[in-house]
Chain length 435, copies 2
Amino acid sequence: MTTLQDCRALDAQDPLAPLREHFALPPGVIYLDGNSLGMLPKATAARVADVVAREWGTDLIRSWNTASWFDLPQRLGDQLAPFIGAGAGEVVCTDSTSINLYKVLSAALNIAREESPARTRVVSERSNFPTDLYIAEGLCKERGLELVLVEPEEIAASLTSDVAVLMLTHVNYRTGAMHDMAALTAAAHTAGILTVWDLAHSAGAVPVDLRGADADFSIGCGYKYLNGGPGAPAFVWVHPRHADRFWQPLSGWWGHAAPFQFTPGYQPAPGITRYLCGTQPIISLSALQCGLDVFDAAQPLGGMAALRAKSLALTDLFIQLVQERCAGHGLGLATPREHGRRGSQVCLTRDEGQGLNGQGSGAYAIVQALIARGVIGDFRKGDGGQGPHKDILRFGFTPLYIGFEDVWNAVEHLRQVLDSAEWQRAEFNQISAVT
Amino acid sequence: MTTLQDCRALDAQDPLAPLREHFALPPGVIYLDGNSLGMLPKATAARVADVVAREWGTDLIRSWNTASWFDLPQRLGDQLAPFIGAGAGEVVCTDSTSINLYKVLSAALNIAREESPARTRVVSERSNFPTDLYIAEGLCKERGLELVLVEPEEIAASLTSDVAVLMLTHVNYRTGAMHDMAALTAAAHTAGILTVWDLAHSAGAVPVDLRGADADFSIGCGYKYLNGGPGAPAFVWVHPRHADRFWQPLSGWWGHAAPFQFTPGYQPAPGITRYLCGTQPIISLSALQCGLDVFDAAQPLGGMAALRAKSLALTDLFIQLVQERCAGHGLGLATPREHGRRGSQVCLTRDEGQGLNGQGSGAYAIVQALIARGVIGDFRKGDGGQGPHKDILRFGFTPLYIGFEDVWNAVEHLRQVLDSAEWQRAEFNQISAVT
């Protein structure tokens, strides 16, 4: 049996422990939701205050030049690139994940329409994050294409000659299951299919090698593992072989080859810059930069490889402790045990037992009871299906600021919430607007 | 002849003078570029700091509920609505102006495609802000439609039976000329044409009455006259008769009827909420709120009517003083003299005289010389045409924080720059990335 002392010993040996000092950790909180909103880096408050008071307030419009506001999306993209296996000049930080998906999926469908007009299907995963499916559904509706949703084990068989694009989220938001990006991309390419990878739950969480996998398009989120702040700008990457081929549909002035010539006709900038649209949110971009800076600080400590090793150790420990200490309460494991198929989170189902008065699974209320104790994970509602489609208790483990003792304490709180039936209190069974 | 003392007397009588106290005014600056980036409200720094340190840093993911992050786009929209003649629940603050234009122009074209498929043209103004034209060009290209660009005096004649949408910016960014929204909307409707109005240079600058004009769609900018900060979220309004009719193409999860049900199929929210796409930038939205708060503070002092009266007095004075004090230097007036056709800026051309070595108009260098003296306007390059298509020296007059003495001093600096030929110095003839 692993003990609290064992966990403390693991923390004492952790080469990444100093990174925790980069974050403003609220007292009394064990934060297992960095996969939904990353924590605040200590540097962010001062950086944002300087952007507001000096760059905006004092230097005003001159900051477009003097503070280099104008190329901030590209500079942040270059800073992020090495952590997702992209090259310099291939990434921009901009807009939201949904908007960036619209851009790249449109571009991919334009290529397919030109090269292979008989390809009329877009394949994705049934439990992909809904906004990805909504964006794809809208584009398919507009263009008379078909969106085909399959289970993970059905993907390979779905790569048929009528498919234009395979659109997947690398790590599933509900289960934490990770796809083999290189293998699926290779299989798609063999079948003449382009790939769009959403890295919302990958960038900053697991090593990603877009160029190594020969992916075609990718997008991702700035406010989860990258710690960019609520609603932080997202990012977009396009393989250089595609970047100059098409306008993306949101052809705004920041994607123009010469935006300050103010010419009436659109001339797209070369490369990834054409994936910018309107004027970018400078305050939010500046906050994102502080989130990316922490990854730079992690480089001399082992970088993404060290972060990945710690993440797997944390999630292994959590799974083990839940099994040892919370048995008999109907919890199941939705996250794969194999390291190669696991992201940086652990998702539990509630397979047996019921919610209050026989309603629901009780998973929502268990999560609320944990939050009241300062153990912040989140709940993701199921659609009534089996396995990964059940209600989910989701716990993210960000190796930048979560330690092994945190894992032990989180499981101890979960044990107490279950053993005492504390979760059945009325206050934990009220549904809030955002879950 | 108007004197400096006259200007001081006008400031002393100005009922809006207390609003200046809401802004952080840098010493030594006369800021005539609030039409490009509004000034920093004093309240913004503390508000942003609280969002970063407390709402994000301490309350973390709980703030989606406890700080009401989730409905911030709608709450800001409701706060803005009265200043643009919109009703409650009809506006959301979100994304960029360009992205919002893509949404509403797509929706308008969807209506036209369904009701009047023979209408295959989009009409706009040749000197409309380029990003509006780029977005329209992209959509027209995708759908096989034609974008027709005309001069302002040709608009009425262009409203033919093959036109689907008339897309105009209410106040022209180059000249400050204002269209008659009600008259042009009525003429368009008579011809069966939908209207899209860009309020980038109107919202917060001139009274706008979208419902009174019976407009169909509108968008606008948060970082100009609304003082929301660099790259602040923009806004979008749709007349209720159209709001529920179509998906807009950027059908992301924030526009879903039940975003936290995480259902795989898209069901648009009723009304304007479906014009949201991905997760919104909370820090930037919070800064925009402080900009909107100043307009609330202006309400007991006379609101938009008082702001309009002062704006016209400021721009009248500037025109008069330039004519009295800067004669003989080749300056012309691009902005209409009639009050009903003028926004809140004055644009000068340089009609005679040349730049250094016979290159260019010298307008760019004159603006740089003024900026070096702390008089911040901006330069907009012409395309070699006549009148409004010449190079422009642009000066915005934001009645919230610009006074009559500022106008006098600005013109005095302009006079000195011209009389001394100071603008011909090499340092003022270097082109920066952002102009």
